[in-house]
Protein backbone atom coordinates (compact mmCIF):
# COMPACT_ATOMS: atom_id res chain seq x y z
CA UNK A 1 0.00 0.00 0.00
CA UNK A 2 1.43 3.35 -1.06
CA UNK A 3 1.93 6.26 1.33
CA UNK A 4 2.00 9.97 0.60
CA UNK A 5 4.95 11.75 2.15
CA UNK A 6 5.48 15.49 2.26
CA UNK A 7 9.16 14.98 1.70
CA UNK A 8 11.75 17.61 2.53
CA UNK A 9 14.46 18.18 -0.07
CA UNK A 10 17.74 17.07 1.51
CA UNK A 11 19.77 18.34 -1.45
CA UNK A 12 19.51 19.06 -5.13
CA UNK A 13 22.60 18.10 -7.14
CA UNK A 14 22.81 19.42 -10.67
CA UNK A 15 24.60 17.02 -12.96
CA UNK A 16 24.40 19.15 -16.11
CA UNK A 17 22.33 22.00 -17.53
CA UNK A 18 19.33 19.62 -17.73
CA UNK A 19 19.89 16.71 -15.37
CA UNK A 20 19.69 16.79 -11.59
CA UNK A 21 19.41 14.40 -8.68
CA UNK A 22 16.99 15.34 -5.91
CA UNK A 23 17.40 13.75 -2.50
CA UNK A 24 14.12 13.53 -0.58
CA UNK A 25 13.48 12.68 3.06
CA UNK A 26 10.91 9.95 2.43
CA UNK A 27 12.19 7.02 4.52
CA UNK A 28 8.73 5.38 4.63
CA UNK A 29 8.85 4.95 0.87
CA UNK A 30 12.58 4.36 0.54
CA UNK A 31 12.42 1.56 3.09
CA UNK A 32 9.69 -0.27 1.18
CA UNK A 33 10.64 0.30 -2.46
CA UNK A 34 11.78 -2.51 -4.72
CA UNK A 35 13.92 -2.01 -7.84
CA UNK A 36 11.78 -0.79 -10.73
CA UNK A 37 9.03 0.72 -8.63
CA UNK A 38 8.17 4.39 -8.92
CA UNK A 39 6.77 7.36 -7.02
CA UNK A 40 4.29 10.04 -8.11
CA UNK A 41 5.79 13.42 -7.37
CA UNK A 42 4.43 16.95 -7.07
CA UNK A 43 6.52 19.96 -6.15
CA UNK A 44 4.45 22.59 -4.31
CA UNK A 45 0.77 22.63 -3.47
CA UNK A 46 -0.72 24.74 -6.24
CA UNK A 47 -3.01 23.65 -9.05
CA UNK A 48 -0.63 24.60 -11.87
CA UNK A 49 1.04 22.25 -12.51
CA UNK A 50 -1.77 20.07 -11.27
CA UNK A 51 -0.97 16.40 -11.68
CA UNK A 52 1.87 14.45 -10.15
CA UNK A 53 4.55 12.99 -12.40
CA UNK A 54 5.99 9.48 -12.21
CA UNK A 55 9.66 8.98 -11.35
CA UNK A 56 11.61 5.78 -10.84
CA UNK A 57 13.28 5.68 -7.47
CA UNK A 58 16.93 6.25 -8.35
CA UNK A 59 18.84 5.57 -5.11
CA UNK A 60 17.88 4.54 -1.60
CA UNK A 61 19.85 6.72 0.82
CA UNK A 62 21.20 5.17 3.99
CA UNK A 63 22.93 6.83 6.87
CA UNK A 64 24.48 4.88 9.73
CA UNK A 65 22.57 1.83 8.64
CA UNK A 66 19.20 3.58 8.61
CA UNK A 67 17.17 4.42 5.55
CA UNK A 68 17.15 8.19 5.28
CA UNK A 69 15.41 8.84 1.99
CA UNK A 70 15.53 8.38 -1.73
CA UNK A 71 16.75 10.19 -4.78
CA UNK A 72 15.19 10.91 -8.15
CA UNK A 73 17.09 11.35 -11.39
CA UNK A 74 15.37 14.09 -13.37
CA UNK A 75 15.84 15.58 -16.80
CA UNK A 76 14.37 19.01 -17.35
CA UNK A 77 11.80 18.73 -20.14
CA UNK A 78 8.45 20.03 -18.83
CA UNK A 79 6.79 22.11 -16.16
CA UNK A 80 7.30 19.67 -13.29
CA UNK A 81 10.88 18.68 -14.15
CA UNK A 82 11.57 22.40 -14.55
CA UNK A 83 10.38 23.05 -11.00
CA UNK A 84 12.31 20.04 -9.73
CA UNK A 85 15.47 21.38 -11.36
CA UNK A 86 15.18 24.47 -9.18
CA UNK A 87 14.17 23.04 -5.79
CA UNK A 88 16.43 23.90 -2.88
CA UNK A 89 17.18 22.20 0.42
CA UNK A 90 14.18 22.45 2.72
CA UNK A 91 11.56 22.70 -0.03
CA UNK A 92 8.74 20.18 0.19
CA UNK A 93 7.90 17.71 -2.57
CA UNK A 94 4.87 15.42 -2.26
CA UNK A 95 5.90 11.88 -2.92
CA UNK A 96 3.38 9.02 -3.29
CA UNK A 97 4.65 5.48 -3.41
CA UNK A 98 6.03 2.95 -3.78
CA UNK A 99 3.94 2.12 -6.85
CA UNK A 100 3.97 -0.43 -9.65
CA UNK A 101 5.49 -3.83 -10.25
CA UNK A 102 9.22 -4.22 -9.68
CA UNK A 103 11.83 -6.03 -11.77
CA UNK A 104 12.14 -9.79 -11.28
CA UNK A 105 15.74 -10.33 -10.20
CA UNK A 106 18.03 -13.13 -11.33
CA UNK A 107 20.42 -15.23 -9.29
CA UNK A 108 23.79 -16.66 -10.26
CA UNK A 109 24.83 -18.35 -12.43
CA UNK A 110 22.51 -16.21 -14.55
CA UNK A 111 23.88 -12.79 -15.50
CA UNK A 112 22.04 -9.47 -15.61
CA UNK A 113 22.56 -7.02 -18.46
CA UNK A 114 21.02 -3.63 -17.81
CA UNK A 115 20.47 -1.35 -20.82
CA UNK A 116 19.92 2.34 -20.11
CA UNK A 117 19.18 5.18 -22.51
CA UNK A 118 19.60 8.71 -21.13
CA UNK A 119 17.39 9.36 -18.11
CA UNK A 120 16.42 5.68 -18.39
CA UNK A 121 19.37 5.09 -16.07
CA UNK A 122 17.01 5.85 -13.18
CA UNK A 123 15.81 2.37 -12.13
CA UNK A 124 19.22 0.74 -12.46
CA UNK A 125 20.99 1.96 -9.34
CA UNK A 126 18.60 0.13 -7.02
CA UNK A 127 18.47 -2.85 -9.39
CA UNK A 128 22.27 -3.03 -9.47
CA UNK A 129 22.49 -2.97 -5.67
CA UNK A 130 19.98 -5.81 -5.35
CA UNK A 131 21.73 -7.87 -8.01
CA UNK A 132 25.16 -7.32 -6.49
CA UNK A 133 23.81 -8.34 -3.10
CA UNK A 134 22.80 -11.67 -4.66
CA UNK A 135 26.17 -12.09 -6.26
CA UNK A 136 24.71 -11.78 -9.75
CA UNK A 137 27.24 -10.70 -12.36
CA UNK A 138 25.92 -7.42 -13.75
CA UNK A 139 26.71 -5.30 -16.80
CA UNK A 140 25.39 -1.83 -17.61
CA UNK A 141 25.06 -0.88 -21.27
CA UNK A 142 24.57 2.86 -21.05
CA UNK A 143 23.91 5.20 -23.95
CA UNK A 144 23.49 8.97 -24.03
CA UNK A 145 23.77 11.88 -26.43
CA UNK A 146 27.28 12.75 -25.27
CA UNK A 147 29.89 11.86 -22.67
CA UNK A 148 28.78 14.83 -20.57
CA UNK A 149 25.40 13.09 -20.14
CA UNK A 150 26.77 9.81 -18.84
CA UNK A 151 26.36 10.00 -15.08
CA UNK A 152 27.22 7.96 -12.00
CA UNK A 153 29.82 5.87 -13.82
CA UNK A 154 32.02 5.68 -10.70
CA UNK A 155 29.01 4.74 -8.62
CA UNK A 156 28.33 1.68 -10.78
CA UNK A 157 32.00 0.78 -11.26
CA UNK A 158 32.73 0.90 -7.56
CA UNK A 159 30.01 -1.71 -7.05
CA UNK A 160 31.61 -4.08 -9.50
CA UNK A 161 29.28 -3.39 -12.42
CA UNK A 162 30.88 -3.78 -15.83
CA UNK A 163 30.21 -0.70 -18.00
CA UNK A 164 29.69 -0.65 -21.75
CA UNK A 165 29.24 2.94 -22.87
CA UNK A 166 28.01 4.53 -26.06
CA UNK A 167 27.26 8.09 -27.12
CA UNK A 168 25.54 9.49 -30.16
CA UNK A 169 28.36 11.96 -30.79
CA UNK A 170 31.13 9.50 -30.01
CA UNK A 171 32.58 11.70 -27.25
CA UNK A 172 32.75 8.75 -24.87
CA UNK A 173 32.53 5.03 -25.44
CA UNK A 174 31.36 3.70 -28.76
CA UNK A 175 29.72 6.07 -31.26
CA UNK A 176 26.07 5.32 -32.00
CA UNK A 177 23.20 3.58 -30.31
CA UNK A 178 23.53 1.45 -27.23
CA UNK A 179 21.94 -1.46 -29.11
CA UNK A 180 25.07 -1.85 -31.27
CA UNK A 181 27.39 -3.08 -28.48
CA UNK A 182 24.45 -4.94 -26.95
CA UNK A 183 23.87 -6.94 -30.10
CA UNK A 184 27.58 -7.64 -30.53
CA UNK A 185 27.81 -9.06 -27.02
CA UNK A 186 24.58 -11.00 -27.33
CA UNK A 187 25.88 -12.61 -30.50
CA UNK A 188 29.16 -13.46 -28.82
CA UNK A 189 27.40 -14.89 -25.76
CA UNK A 190 25.17 -16.97 -28.01
CA UNK A 191 27.95 -18.51 -30.06
CA UNK A 192 30.83 -18.87 -27.64
CA UNK A 193 31.22 -21.54 -25.05
CA UNK A 194 30.75 -18.87 -22.42
CA UNK A 195 30.25 -20.39 -19.04
CA UNK A 196 27.14 -18.41 -18.35
CA UNK A 197 24.95 -17.94 -21.37
CA UNK A 198 21.90 -17.52 -19.17
CA UNK A 199 21.46 -13.79 -19.42
CA UNK A 200 18.50 -11.62 -18.53
CA UNK A 201 18.28 -8.23 -20.16
CA UNK A 202 16.72 -5.28 -18.29
CA UNK A 203 16.03 -2.06 -20.18
CA UNK A 204 14.78 1.46 -19.55
CA UNK A 205 14.85 4.40 -21.93
CA UNK A 206 12.99 5.73 -24.97
CA UNK A 207 10.35 3.30 -26.24
CA UNK A 208 11.99 2.70 -29.65
CA UNK A 209 15.08 1.62 -27.72
CA UNK A 210 13.01 -0.70 -25.52
CA UNK A 211 11.42 -2.23 -28.57
CA UNK A 212 14.82 -2.78 -30.20
CA UNK A 213 16.27 -4.26 -27.00
CA UNK A 214 13.30 -6.63 -26.57
CA UNK A 215 13.65 -7.80 -30.15
CA UNK A 216 17.39 -8.33 -29.80
CA UNK A 217 16.93 -10.29 -26.60
CA UNK A 218 14.29 -12.47 -28.28
CA UNK A 219 16.48 -12.96 -31.34
CA UNK A 220 19.31 -14.32 -29.18
CA UNK A 221 17.01 -16.33 -26.96
CA UNK A 222 17.31 -14.18 -23.84
CA UNK A 223 14.64 -13.08 -21.42
CA UNK A 224 14.04 -9.35 -21.18
CA UNK A 225 12.22 -6.97 -18.89
CA UNK A 226 11.63 -3.35 -19.82
CA UNK A 227 10.45 -0.42 -17.74
CA UNK A 228 8.15 1.85 -19.75
CA UNK A 229 7.46 5.52 -19.18
CA UNK A 230 3.99 6.47 -20.37
CA UNK A 231 2.10 9.65 -19.57
CA UNK A 232 0.42 8.93 -16.25
CA UNK A 233 -2.39 10.72 -14.48
CA UNK A 234 -2.59 9.02 -11.12
CA UNK A 235 -0.21 6.05 -10.80
CA UNK A 236 -2.89 4.04 -8.98
CA UNK A 237 -4.95 2.54 -11.80
CA UNK A 238 -7.66 5.17 -11.53
CA UNK A 239 -7.53 7.07 -14.80
CA UNK A 240 -6.62 4.63 -17.61
CA UNK A 241 -4.35 7.13 -19.31
CA UNK A 242 -1.01 5.27 -19.16
CA UNK A 243 -2.14 2.24 -21.15
CA UNK A 244 0.20 0.18 -23.31
CA UNK A 245 -0.74 -2.59 -25.77
CA UNK A 246 0.01 -6.12 -24.59
CA UNK A 247 -0.18 -9.17 -26.85
CA UNK A 248 -3.08 -11.60 -26.47
CA UNK A 249 -2.96 -15.30 -27.12
CA UNK A 250 -5.07 -14.77 -30.25
CA UNK A 251 -2.47 -12.61 -31.98
CA UNK A 252 -4.18 -9.30 -31.25
CA UNK A 253 -3.45 -6.97 -28.41
CA UNK A 254 -5.24 -5.16 -25.62
CA UNK A 255 -4.44 -2.16 -23.46
CA UNK A 256 -3.29 -2.55 -19.88
CA UNK A 257 -2.47 0.19 -17.41
CA UNK A 258 1.30 0.57 -17.19
CA UNK A 259 1.03 1.99 -13.64
CA UNK A 260 -0.37 -1.16 -12.05
CA UNK A 261 0.39 -3.89 -14.60
CA UNK A 262 3.86 -2.32 -15.08
CA UNK A 263 5.88 -0.19 -15.37
CA UNK A 264 8.03 -3.32 -15.74
CA UNK A 265 6.88 -5.73 -18.46
CA UNK A 266 8.41 -8.78 -20.03
CA UNK A 267 9.70 -7.48 -23.36
CA UNK A 268 8.00 -10.39 -25.13
CA UNK A 269 4.56 -9.41 -23.77
CA UNK A 270 4.42 -5.93 -25.26
CA UNK A 271 2.81 -5.39 -28.66
CA UNK A 272 4.57 -2.06 -29.38
CA UNK A 273 2.25 0.30 -31.25
Amino acid sequence: MPVDVEARVIRNTRLSSDYNVIALAAPEIAGAVEPGQFVMVKPGRGTDPLLRRPFSVFEVLRREGRVEGLTLLSKRIGAVTGLLFDVVEGDVVSCLGPLGRPFNLVDPPAEAWMVAGGVGLAPFATLAESLVARGTKTTLFYGARSGAELFYLDWFESRGIRLVLSTEDGSRGERGRVTVPLERELRRAGSADLESADIKVFACGPEPMLEAVSQLAAKYGKRSEVSVERVMGCGMGGCYSCVIPVRDAGGGHHYVRSCISGPVFAGADLAWD
Binding site: T47, L51, V231, G233, C234, M236, G238, C239, S241, D273
Partner: protein, 313 residues
Protein backbone atom coordinates in the same frame (compact mmCIF):
# COMPACT_ATOMS: atom_id res chain seq x y z
CA UNK B 1 -20.94 15.48 16.15
CA UNK B 2 -22.57 16.86 13.03
CA UNK B 3 -24.75 14.73 10.80
CA UNK B 4 -23.02 14.31 7.46
CA UNK B 5 -25.60 12.09 5.80
CA UNK B 6 -27.51 13.23 2.74
CA UNK B 7 -30.46 11.87 0.85
CA UNK B 8 -30.47 11.20 -2.90
CA UNK B 9 -34.06 10.16 -3.59
CA UNK B 10 -34.54 6.89 -1.70
CA UNK B 11 -30.80 6.45 -1.16
CA UNK B 12 -29.08 7.65 2.02
CA UNK B 13 -25.39 8.44 1.69
CA UNK B 14 -23.17 8.44 4.80
CA UNK B 15 -21.70 11.74 3.64
CA UNK B 16 -21.88 13.94 0.55
CA UNK B 17 -18.57 12.80 -0.99
CA UNK B 18 -18.75 10.52 -4.01
CA UNK B 19 -15.86 9.34 -6.17
CA UNK B 20 -16.51 10.59 -9.72
CA UNK B 21 -16.87 8.17 -12.60
CA UNK B 22 -13.69 7.39 -14.50
CA UNK B 23 -11.53 8.93 -11.81
CA UNK B 24 -11.53 6.09 -9.31
CA UNK B 25 -11.14 3.02 -11.54
CA UNK B 26 -13.72 0.46 -10.48
CA UNK B 27 -13.14 1.44 -6.85
CA UNK B 28 -11.12 -1.65 -5.95
CA UNK B 29 -7.93 0.02 -7.19
CA UNK B 30 -8.17 2.44 -4.27
CA UNK B 31 -9.13 0.01 -1.53
CA UNK B 32 -5.55 0.05 -0.24
CA UNK B 33 -5.59 3.81 0.21
CA UNK B 34 -9.19 4.52 1.25
CA UNK B 35 -11.74 2.59 3.29
CA UNK B 36 -14.42 2.48 0.60
CA UNK B 37 -17.22 2.23 3.16
CA UNK B 38 -16.33 5.72 4.41
CA UNK B 39 -17.22 7.34 1.08
CA UNK B 40 -20.71 8.60 0.39
CA UNK B 41 -20.57 6.47 -2.76
CA UNK B 42 -18.21 5.06 -5.34
CA UNK B 43 -19.27 5.78 -8.91
CA UNK B 44 -17.91 3.14 -11.26
CA UNK B 45 -15.99 3.87 -14.39
CA UNK B 46 -18.41 4.14 -17.34
CA UNK B 47 -19.69 0.71 -18.32
CA UNK B 48 -21.03 -0.51 -21.62
CA UNK B 49 -22.66 -3.88 -22.20
CA UNK B 50 -19.49 -5.12 -23.87
CA UNK B 51 -15.82 -4.59 -23.14
CA UNK B 52 -14.19 -1.67 -24.97
CA UNK B 53 -10.60 -0.90 -25.85
CA UNK B 54 -10.81 2.90 -25.69
CA UNK B 55 -8.66 5.38 -27.62
CA UNK B 56 -4.95 4.96 -28.30
CA UNK B 57 -2.56 7.10 -26.20
CA UNK B 58 -1.99 10.00 -25.69
CA UNK B 59 -5.15 9.96 -23.66
CA UNK B 60 -4.51 12.86 -21.31
CA UNK B 61 -2.71 16.15 -21.34
CA UNK B 62 -2.36 18.69 -18.60
CA UNK B 63 -3.64 22.24 -19.16
CA UNK B 64 -3.62 25.25 -16.80
CA UNK B 65 -5.11 24.01 -13.49
CA UNK B 66 -6.79 21.19 -15.33
CA UNK B 67 -6.44 18.30 -17.70
CA UNK B 68 -7.94 17.05 -20.94
CA UNK B 69 -8.86 13.42 -21.25
CA UNK B 70 -9.98 11.25 -24.12
CA UNK B 71 -9.86 7.80 -22.60
CA UNK B 72 -12.63 6.60 -24.89
CA UNK B 73 -14.35 4.59 -22.17
CA UNK B 74 -12.00 1.63 -22.09
CA UNK B 75 -13.78 -0.86 -19.90
CA UNK B 76 -14.49 -4.45 -19.01
CA UNK B 77 -18.22 -4.37 -19.75
CA UNK B 78 -21.08 -4.93 -17.36
CA UNK B 79 -20.85 -8.72 -17.07
CA UNK B 80 -17.23 -8.81 -16.02
CA UNK B 81 -17.91 -5.88 -13.70
CA UNK B 82 -20.60 -7.85 -11.91
CA UNK B 83 -18.50 -11.00 -11.79
CA UNK B 84 -15.10 -9.53 -10.96
CA UNK B 85 -15.52 -6.17 -9.20
CA UNK B 86 -18.87 -6.12 -7.47
CA UNK B 87 -18.13 -8.97 -5.03
CA UNK B 88 -15.12 -7.13 -3.62
CA UNK B 89 -17.03 -3.83 -3.51
CA UNK B 90 -19.83 -5.56 -1.62
CA UNK B 91 -17.39 -7.11 0.79
CA UNK B 92 -15.87 -3.69 1.44
CA UNK B 93 -19.35 -2.29 2.02
CA UNK B 94 -19.09 0.40 -0.63
CA UNK B 95 -22.19 2.25 -1.81
CA UNK B 96 -22.05 1.56 -5.52
CA UNK B 97 -23.39 3.88 -8.17
CA UNK B 98 -22.93 2.41 -11.62
CA UNK B 99 -22.19 4.78 -14.49
CA UNK B 100 -23.80 3.28 -17.61
CA UNK B 101 -23.20 4.17 -21.25
CA UNK B 102 -24.98 3.05 -24.38
CA UNK B 103 -24.99 3.68 -28.09
CA UNK B 104 -28.73 3.11 -28.29
CA UNK B 105 -31.67 3.51 -25.98
CA UNK B 106 -32.04 -0.27 -25.84
CA UNK B 107 -28.51 -0.61 -24.50
CA UNK B 108 -29.25 1.70 -21.58
CA UNK B 109 -32.41 -0.25 -20.87
CA UNK B 110 -30.62 -3.57 -21.00
CA UNK B 111 -27.81 -2.33 -18.75
CA UNK B 112 -30.39 -1.06 -16.27
CA UNK B 113 -32.17 -4.41 -16.29
CA UNK B 114 -28.98 -6.39 -15.76
CA UNK B 115 -27.76 -4.14 -12.96
CA UNK B 116 -31.14 -4.06 -11.22
CA UNK B 117 -30.78 -7.79 -10.67
CA UNK B 118 -27.23 -7.55 -9.36
CA UNK B 119 -26.54 -7.64 -5.64
CA UNK B 120 -24.77 -4.56 -4.27
CA UNK B 121 -25.82 -1.93 -6.81
CA UNK B 122 -27.32 1.15 -5.13
CA UNK B 123 -28.04 3.54 -8.00
CA UNK B 124 -27.54 4.10 -11.73
CA UNK B 125 -25.84 7.15 -13.13
CA UNK B 126 -26.75 7.51 -16.81
CA UNK B 127 -23.75 8.76 -18.71
CA UNK B 128 -25.37 10.78 -21.48
CA UNK B 129 -22.53 13.26 -21.46
CA UNK B 130 -19.19 11.68 -22.35
CA UNK B 131 -17.67 14.03 -24.95
CA UNK B 132 -15.08 11.51 -26.12
CA UNK B 133 -16.97 8.93 -28.10
CA UNK B 134 -18.90 9.46 -31.26
CA UNK B 135 -21.58 6.82 -30.87
CA UNK B 136 -24.42 7.40 -28.44
CA UNK B 137 -24.21 8.89 -24.97
CA UNK B 138 -23.70 12.52 -25.74
CA UNK B 139 -26.29 12.51 -28.54
CA UNK B 140 -28.91 11.79 -25.87
CA UNK B 141 -27.40 14.33 -23.52
CA UNK B 142 -27.42 17.13 -26.07
CA UNK B 143 -31.09 16.77 -26.96
CA UNK B 144 -33.95 17.48 -24.59
CA UNK B 145 -36.07 14.75 -26.19
CA UNK B 146 -33.18 12.31 -26.12
CA UNK B 147 -32.60 13.00 -22.43
CA UNK B 148 -36.29 12.62 -21.64
CA UNK B 149 -36.54 9.38 -23.63
CA UNK B 150 -33.53 7.63 -22.15
CA UNK B 151 -34.41 8.60 -18.58
CA UNK B 152 -38.02 7.49 -18.89
CA UNK B 153 -37.05 4.23 -20.59
CA UNK B 154 -34.59 3.37 -17.83
CA UNK B 155 -37.04 4.54 -15.17
CA UNK B 156 -39.58 1.98 -16.41
CA UNK B 157 -37.29 -1.01 -15.94
CA UNK B 158 -35.55 -0.33 -12.63
CA UNK B 159 -36.34 0.20 -8.98
CA UNK B 160 -32.87 1.72 -8.49
CA UNK B 161 -32.43 5.48 -8.17
CA UNK B 162 -31.80 6.91 -11.66
CA UNK B 163 -29.32 9.77 -11.94
CA UNK B 164 -28.72 11.19 -15.43
CA UNK B 165 -25.32 12.85 -15.67
CA UNK B 166 -25.58 16.07 -17.61
CA UNK B 167 -23.15 17.60 -20.03
CA UNK B 168 -22.11 21.23 -19.67
CA UNK B 169 -21.70 21.42 -23.47
CA UNK B 170 -25.20 22.86 -23.98
CA UNK B 171 -26.62 26.36 -23.91
CA UNK B 172 -29.12 25.91 -21.09
CA UNK B 173 -28.22 23.07 -18.76
CA UNK B 174 -31.18 23.75 -16.46
CA UNK B 175 -33.62 22.70 -19.18
CA UNK B 176 -31.90 19.29 -19.26
CA UNK B 177 -32.31 18.99 -15.52
CA UNK B 178 -36.01 19.76 -15.99
CA UNK B 179 -36.39 17.18 -18.77
CA UNK B 180 -34.73 14.62 -16.49
CA UNK B 181 -37.04 15.43 -13.61
CA UNK B 182 -40.12 15.17 -15.81
CA UNK B 183 -38.92 11.78 -17.06
CA UNK B 184 -38.74 10.48 -13.50
CA UNK B 185 -35.10 10.92 -12.52
CA UNK B 186 -34.34 10.71 -8.79
CA UNK B 187 -31.51 13.24 -9.08
CA UNK B 188 -29.23 14.77 -11.70
CA UNK B 189 -25.46 14.95 -11.57
CA UNK B 190 -23.30 17.55 -13.29
CA UNK B 191 -20.95 18.47 -14.76
CA UNK B 192 -19.25 16.04 -17.05
CA UNK B 193 -16.20 17.47 -18.81
CA UNK B 194 -16.08 20.44 -21.17
CA UNK B 195 -15.19 19.63 -24.76
CA UNK B 196 -11.78 21.14 -25.38
CA UNK B 197 -8.48 20.73 -27.19
CA UNK B 198 -4.78 21.47 -27.00
CA UNK B 199 -2.17 21.68 -29.76
CA UNK B 200 1.60 21.25 -29.69
CA UNK B 201 2.72 24.31 -31.65
CA UNK B 202 6.17 22.88 -32.44
CA UNK B 203 4.76 19.86 -34.26
CA UNK B 204 1.33 21.42 -34.98
CA UNK B 205 -0.20 18.19 -33.82
CA UNK B 206 -3.10 17.80 -31.39
CA UNK B 207 -1.86 16.75 -27.97
CA UNK B 208 -4.51 14.00 -27.73
CA UNK B 209 -4.79 11.12 -30.18
CA UNK B 210 -8.53 11.79 -30.32
CA UNK B 211 -7.79 15.46 -31.21
CA UNK B 212 -10.45 16.70 -28.75
CA UNK B 213 -11.06 15.73 -25.13
CA UNK B 214 -12.86 16.71 -21.96
CA UNK B 215 -11.55 19.42 -19.63
CA UNK B 216 -11.72 18.73 -15.89
CA UNK B 217 -10.05 19.99 -12.74
CA UNK B 218 -9.99 23.31 -10.84
CA UNK B 219 -10.06 25.28 -14.12
CA UNK B 220 -13.75 24.41 -14.65
CA UNK B 221 -15.00 24.91 -11.10
CA UNK B 222 -16.59 28.36 -11.37
CA UNK B 223 -18.57 27.31 -14.44
CA UNK B 224 -19.66 24.09 -12.75
CA UNK B 225 -20.79 25.99 -9.65
CA UNK B 226 -22.87 28.30 -11.81
CA UNK B 227 -24.48 25.37 -13.60
CA UNK B 228 -25.30 23.58 -10.35
CA UNK B 229 -26.86 26.80 -9.07
CA UNK B 230 -29.01 27.10 -12.21
CA UNK B 231 -30.14 23.47 -12.07
CA UNK B 232 -30.98 23.54 -8.40
CA UNK B 233 -33.32 26.47 -9.01
CA UNK B 234 -34.98 24.66 -11.93
CA UNK B 235 -35.83 21.33 -10.26
CA UNK B 236 -37.00 19.84 -6.98
CA UNK B 237 -34.93 16.64 -7.21
CA UNK B 238 -31.45 16.66 -5.68
CA UNK B 239 -28.51 17.92 -7.72
CA UNK B 240 -25.14 16.20 -7.41
CA UNK B 241 -22.42 18.71 -8.19
CA UNK B 242 -18.90 18.28 -9.45
CA UNK B 243 -16.19 19.97 -11.42
CA UNK B 244 -12.77 20.86 -10.04
CA UNK B 245 -13.41 20.10 -6.39
CA UNK B 246 -10.08 19.83 -4.58
CA UNK B 247 -10.77 20.92 -0.99
CA UNK B 248 -13.44 21.14 1.71
CA UNK B 249 -13.95 24.76 0.76
CA UNK B 250 -14.77 23.72 -2.80
CA UNK B 251 -17.29 21.14 -1.57
CA UNK B 252 -18.96 23.76 0.61
CA UNK B 253 -19.20 26.12 -2.35
CA UNK B 254 -21.14 23.48 -4.32
CA UNK B 255 -23.39 22.64 -1.37
CA UNK B 256 -24.22 26.29 -0.78
CA UNK B 257 -24.91 26.71 -4.50
CA UNK B 258 -27.47 23.92 -4.20
CA UNK B 259 -25.76 20.55 -4.54
CA UNK B 260 -27.00 17.88 -2.14
CA UNK B 261 -23.89 15.77 -2.71
CA UNK B 262 -20.70 16.20 -4.70
CA UNK B 263 -18.26 14.11 -6.68
CA UNK B 264 -14.50 14.44 -6.73
CA UNK B 265 -12.66 13.33 -9.86
CA UNK B 266 -9.40 14.85 -11.01
CA UNK B 267 -8.31 15.87 -7.50
CA UNK B 268 -8.30 12.21 -6.48
CA UNK B 269 -5.56 11.63 -9.07
CA UNK B 270 -3.45 14.26 -7.36
CA UNK B 271 -4.19 13.07 -3.83
CA UNK B 272 -5.81 9.68 -3.29
CA UNK B 273 -5.96 10.49 0.42
CA UNK B 274 -8.09 13.58 -0.19
CA UNK B 275 -11.30 12.02 1.18
CA UNK B 276 -10.65 12.15 4.91
CA UNK B 277 -9.00 15.57 4.62
CA UNK B 278 -12.08 17.00 2.91
CA UNK B 279 -14.46 15.36 5.37
CA UNK B 280 -12.54 16.80 8.29
CA UNK B 281 -12.66 20.22 6.69
CA UNK B 282 -16.43 19.96 6.30
CA UNK B 283 -16.81 18.89 9.94
CA UNK B 284 -14.75 21.88 11.07
CA UNK B 285 -16.87 24.23 9.02
CA UNK B 286 -20.14 22.82 10.35
CA UNK B 287 -18.86 23.23 13.88
CA UNK B 288 -17.56 26.74 13.28
CA UNK B 289 -20.87 27.82 11.77
CA UNK B 290 -22.92 25.84 14.24
CA UNK B 291 -24.73 23.82 11.57
CA UNK B 292 -26.06 20.48 12.83
CA UNK B 293 -26.57 18.70 9.53
CA UNK B 294 -24.63 19.07 6.32
CA UNK B 295 -27.97 18.80 4.51
CA UNK B 296 -28.97 22.10 6.15
CA UNK B 297 -26.32 23.88 4.09
CA UNK B 298 -27.71 22.85 0.73
CA UNK B 299 -28.81 25.81 -1.36
CA UNK B 300 -28.25 28.33 1.44
CA UNK B 301 -26.62 30.85 -0.86
CA UNK B 302 -27.60 34.35 0.22
CA UNK B 303 -28.22 36.53 -2.81
CA UNK B 304 -30.02 39.32 -0.97
CA UNK B 305 -28.55 42.73 -1.64
CA UNK B 306 -25.62 43.30 0.60
CA UNK B 307 -25.61 45.80 3.37
CA UNK B 308 -22.48 47.81 3.54
CA UNK B 309 -20.62 46.89 6.64
CA UNK B 310 -17.38 48.00 8.06
CA UNK B 311 -15.56 47.97 11.31
CA UNK B 312 -13.82 51.09 12.48
CA UNK B 313 -10.16 50.64 13.01
Amino acid sequence: MSDLSVQIGPLTLANPLMAASGCFGYGVEYAGAVDLSTLGAVVSKGLFLKPREGHPPERIVETPSGMLNAIGLQGIGVHRYIAEKLPELRERRATNVINICGSTLDEYVELARILSDADGVHALELNISCPNIKEGGITFGCSLNGTFDVVSAVRKVTHLPVIPKLTPNVTDVASFARASEEAGADAVSLVNTFLAMAIDVETRRPKLSNVVGGLSGPAIRPIAVRMVYECQRAVKIPVIGMGGIASARDVLEFLIAGATAVQIGTANFVDPFIWSKVLNGIRDYLQRHDVARVADLVGTIDTSSREKQWTSS
